[in-house]
């Protein structure tokens, strides 16, 4: 299935969508396709919104954001996220803000189809006062008071991975973040991959998402760029630094999105437009 078809078929306006991948394997191609197809009112879920959610938020696709750290790693702010929170531009954004540990617990609970995740966390922080999704629960055995967060069960989780086989089994290598948990927590799982192979090599302890939990696989080489795919291409740290300049200014941001995302038909054309600009 093509990525455009998968997005068309499985992601509707208003859906809760988790594009996971912690720095590594961020599904940029899928995020761009959501923008091209002008999805609206999305509830975006990601531990680290990163550049891809900065773009979706700046393009007005999101109503709500569930997250735990919203910066450009090693660089600074996500300016589109900041503009949405500070100035409601291009629209107001509801925040459901967590810590990494809290959000990880929420994904684990979601994957196990439990109602909430439990952790020793958020102690004496101001986050619970501003987020009714962070509560306290007493251990029924010891009485210890623990933090509780509702399970995260996205309507759709989208991942990027190195490879899938023709049956739809997906193998992921390298830094995983909460990809496995986000995948198993979702109602629908879409995966873009660098390559599709006849058979995956045996991976006794490797991370494999078996075919019956995977709804659709789309072959999309370079689909994580400017994030990276271990074994295929490196993270484009220079682009992450450059994004700080592009996203700082509304007209410059909109012009960049127009030229490289809206005016390109697919991810291959997106990559070609960046290559052309660099040449």
């Amino acid at each position: 299935m093509s990525l455009a078809d998968a997005i068309e078929r499985f992601v509707s306006d208003g859906a809760s969508v988790a594009l996971e991948g912690f720095t590594h394997l961020i599904p940029f191609a899928a995020g761009h396709e959501l923008i091209r197809q002008r999805r609206r009112e999305l509830h975006l879920i990601r531990m680290t919104p990163d550049l891809i959610y900065d773009q979706l938020i700046g393009m007005g696709c999101a109503r709500k954001l569930t997250f735990s750290w919203g910066g450009n790693p090693g660089v600074g702010s996500l300016h589109r996220l900041r503009d949405a929170v500070e100035n409601q531009w291009p629209r107001a954004l509801e925040l459901d803000e967590h810590s990494h540990a809290g959000m990880a617990a929420a994904f684990c609970a979601g994957a196990a189809r439990l109602p909430f995740g439990v952790l020793r966390g958020y102690l004496d922080t101001d986050l619970p006062a501003h987020n009714p999704n962070i509560r306290r629960v007493a251990c029924p055995f010891t009485g210890e008071v623990l933090a509780a967060v509702p399970a995260l069960n996205p309507d759709v989780t989208i991942l990027h991975a190195q490879r899938a086989d023709r049956a739809g089994n997906v193998a992921i290598e390298g830094i995983l973040g909460a990809t496995r948990e986000a995948a198993l927590a979702a109602t629908t799982l879409i995966v873009t991959v660098e390559e599709i192979v006849d058979t995956l090599p045996p991976a006794m302890n490797g991370i494999v998402l078996p075919h019956w939990v995977v709804t659709a696989v789309a072959h999309c080489p370079g689909g994580a760029y400017p994030s990276y795919a271990q074994g295929h291409y490196a993270r484009d740290n220079a682009f992450y630094k450059q994004w700080d300049e592009i996203a700082r200014d509304r007209p410059r941001f909109l012009a960049w999105m127009q030229r490289h995302v809206l005016a390109t038909g697919d991810h291959r054309a997106f990559l070609a437009s960046l290559q052309q600009e660099a040449a």
């Binding site: 912690f22 720095t23 590594h24 531990m47 680290t48 997250f67 735990s68 750290w69 919203g70 910066g71 790693p73 090693g74 702010s77 996500l78 996220l81 900041r82 929170v85 500070e86 803000e97 810590s99 990494h100 540990a101 809290g102 990880a104 617990a105 684990c108 952790l119 020793r120 966390g121 958020y122 102690l123 004496d124 922080t125 101001d126 986050l127 501003h130 390298g174 830094i175 995983l176 973040g177 909460a178 496995r180 080489p221 370079g222 760029y225 990276y228 795919a229 271990q230 291409y233 490196a234 993270r235 740290n237 220079a238 992450y240 630094k241 291959r268 990559l271 070609a272 960046l274 290559q275």
Partner: protein, 264 residues
Amino acid sequence: MSACTRDEWMTVAAARLLKNRDVCFVGIGLPSAACNLARFTHAPQIVLIYESGTIGTRPDVMPLSIGDGELAQTAACVVPLPEIFSYYLQAGRVDIGFLGAAQIDRHGNLNSTVIGPYEMPSTRLPGAGGAPEIAQHARQVFVMLRASRRSFVERLAFRSSAGYLDGHGARARSGAAGGGPRAVITDFGMLAPHPESEELQLVALFEGATVEEARAAIGWPLQLADRIDTIAPPSAHELDTLRALHARTREAHARPVRIPLPNG
């Protein structure tokens, strides 16, 4: 020895606090530089954990992000992120957590969330990330933060991570497992909590820095410890090692990345 910058001095001072067998939960920026400097100098067996899931990583260049490929390729193992927080940090398997922040108060509580009211902030900061639970569970926390009256404040706009709360044992009574912020390394030297009040006080100055300079940069009336140590300047070996690490890192980050455009 050539003159060194305050960032270099802070990094070297922080690195010296680390011991060879420590298990460190590392953040990006100055803490990452300090931990790797320690590994390249006096603490070759230090275990570095980055929240992306890399355990025992030994990067040759510093990562720009918390999840660069270099961290995975040089790690003893890479585990799913939920395991880092539950099986390692929450389970009490981390000795030292290194944190930065936008603001710190006199009891070592940290803000990395907002300036201004939460619902209508004047500045939306990235948020807490791993910090609340690192601050809660790590046996000791070291904070690295450049000094100014905007960052060392009387009152935080938002408490993202707990230090000693209001001091005088409040943290211990709250049930936090970890020991809290034992050292704050900043431009002029180091602050540490008073044994009873748990208020951060000046315990050490970099050679050449003054008490007046320290007081001018801190937004509360800074108390002095009974004894103020002098932190020796970076040695030639420390400085050479740190600068070589930065040079390798700059070179690696400037290397153009091929845009992965498929053929055909």
